[in-house]
Structures are given as C-alpha cells and as structure tokens.
Amino acid sequence: MAVVFKKTKGLTDAQTHYCPGCTHGIVHRLVGEVLEELGVLDKAIGVAPVGCSVLAYKYFNCDMHEAAHGRAPAVATGIKRVRPDNFVFTYQGDGDLASIGTAEIVHAAHRGEKISTIFINNAIYGMTGGQMAPTTLVGQKATTAPNGRDEAHCGKPIKMSELLATIDGAKFVERVTVTTPANVRKAKKAIKECFKLQLEGKGFGIVEVLSTCPTNWGYTPQEALKWLEENMIPYYPLGNFRKPEEVE
C-alpha cells in the first residue's frame, strides 16, 4: 500500500480558523508543499498580512513575520536585504495588496526585490465583513455596495497581474485558481516556478490566486467555486503574464 497523499511538513498542526470551504486553506497547503519540496523550510521566512490570513504565521511551518496592512512587501524587502540567503515570501489578500498596499507591491516589483508574493484575490474584504475591494466585480454586491459595484461611481476592478506585468523588475507573474483538482495542480506548478525564480536570484515573482469567500459572497463552498468560474475568470483571465525568458 502506497501513500499517494498526506499532509505536508510545510504546515503546522494548528487547525485553521478559516470558514468551511474557504480556498485560503487550499493555497496554504500548496505553499507548504512547495516549500517542503524545494527543501527551503529551514530558510524560509514568510510575511503574513492583515486580512483573513492574518494568522498565517501560525499555519506555515517556517519562520514568519507579521506586517501592518498592505506593508508585507516592504517588510519582506527589509528581511531579504539583510538576509539575502533566506527565502522570503509574502502572503496577501486583495484588500491588503490591491488597496492599502498598492504602493508597496508596485515598488517592490519595480525595485526587482528578490521576494515572492502569493496574492489571494477573492474580490472582497473578507475579514472585516464583506466590504467592496478594488477587485470587486462590477455588479457584485458587498456590504458597502448593497446594489452591486457601480462602474460609474467606482470604476472597473483593478487587474493587478496585468499591471505588475508592465514592470521590468517583475520577472514572474501568473494568475491561477483552485476551483478543480486540475486547477489546483496548475496553481501549485506556478507557485513552484515562482519560488524557484527567487532561489535562482532572478528577481520579483507573484502568483495571483482567484479564490473564494463563501461566507461574504453568501454562497455554499461549491456555489462559490461555480460563481468564481462563471464571473471572475472571464474578467481575470488565467495564465502567465511574465516569465524570465520573455523578460530577457
């Protein structure tokens, strides 16, 4: 009898506080698996955000640091610059990265910091109760947009991967999702490629993961995956936007 799937050493034994069916958990597992498979658990330093994943430092089985809202890339920059031999990553939500922390992510990419970012885009401020984010879709309801996002009032949702792909210092930019087992495997592949790029000293990398927030979207976990596929993917196309070969 061969074990084909068991829990990675990249995660601690702590039980997560995430809501049932929240895809934050799937992405945590993928990050843990990749850290373990690349053999960097001993030298990895993660930076946790403010948002539902604020407690990520309890879940990843490596050294972790907490950052103020949106400032994870700035904290990661400091850590990487004083400890260039460590592997440094941030894990951030869309409210964190695409709103209050837009300047930090843009300039970390622009400076070509040798850090890696996992960006959880669930089109909402999950932790604070479902307020509209810059990434909320037009027409999507939020507690601060009870009739749905109004384009005339708030503009269209921001596409961070496309934006960051215009920056020279960003050497790896890919958008993935975790709605099916096949998509989960593709997401893991992208995270691995992104992390390897840092280990090779090539520069900044980011993987945007289209994720669900069943609780604030008001759907069951399965309905939320379906809603993501039908509504988010058409606006936020999956795929790679930048690889080192194309940049050179």
């Binding site: 061969a2 039980q15 049932p20 069916g21």
Partner: protein
C-alpha cells in the same frame, strides 16, 4: 468484479473536518458524503465513505480539501 482498476483507500481525520463538501463534489466516483447522523468536535457533519471498494485512489478529494483532513493510499 474484474480486478483491472486501481484501488484506493481514504482516511479522514474526522475531528478536524469542517463539513464543507468540497471533497464530495470532487470525487469522480461519487462515494463521499457528509454524515448527517454524526456531529464532530468542531460541530460539523464530517465527510465519510461507505463504499471504500469503489475508491480509485485518485486523491481528487484530498487535492480540494482546504483543511488537509484526508490521507490517500493506493492498494
């Protein structure tokens, strides 16, 4: 039954399951259900399998589980 197909065995760490059902819809042979007769320590109906003989050990369930509840073996 002819024994051509791969057989698998799934173990749930039942007390940490959140009853989200993502494994239920991921299973290609539809053998996973939430046990409505049972409530685990977290207060959820945990995922369970009655007909383990049908499991093909594909690990789709474990791949979708956000809480790393599932271990998969191939016989």
């Amino acid at each position: 039954m002819a024994k051509a197909k791969v057989r698998g065995k799934v173990t749930f760490q039942e007390d940490i399951c959140k009853g989200c059902g993502l494994c239920v819809s991921a299973c290609p042979v539809n053998i996973i259900s939430l046990d409505n007769e049972k409530i685990n320590a977290k207060g959820y109906h945990p995922a369970t399998i009655e007909d383990m003989d049908e499991c093909i050990g594909c690990a789709s369930c474990a791949t979708m589980c956000p809480d790393v509840v599932i271990t998969v073996e191939r016989l």
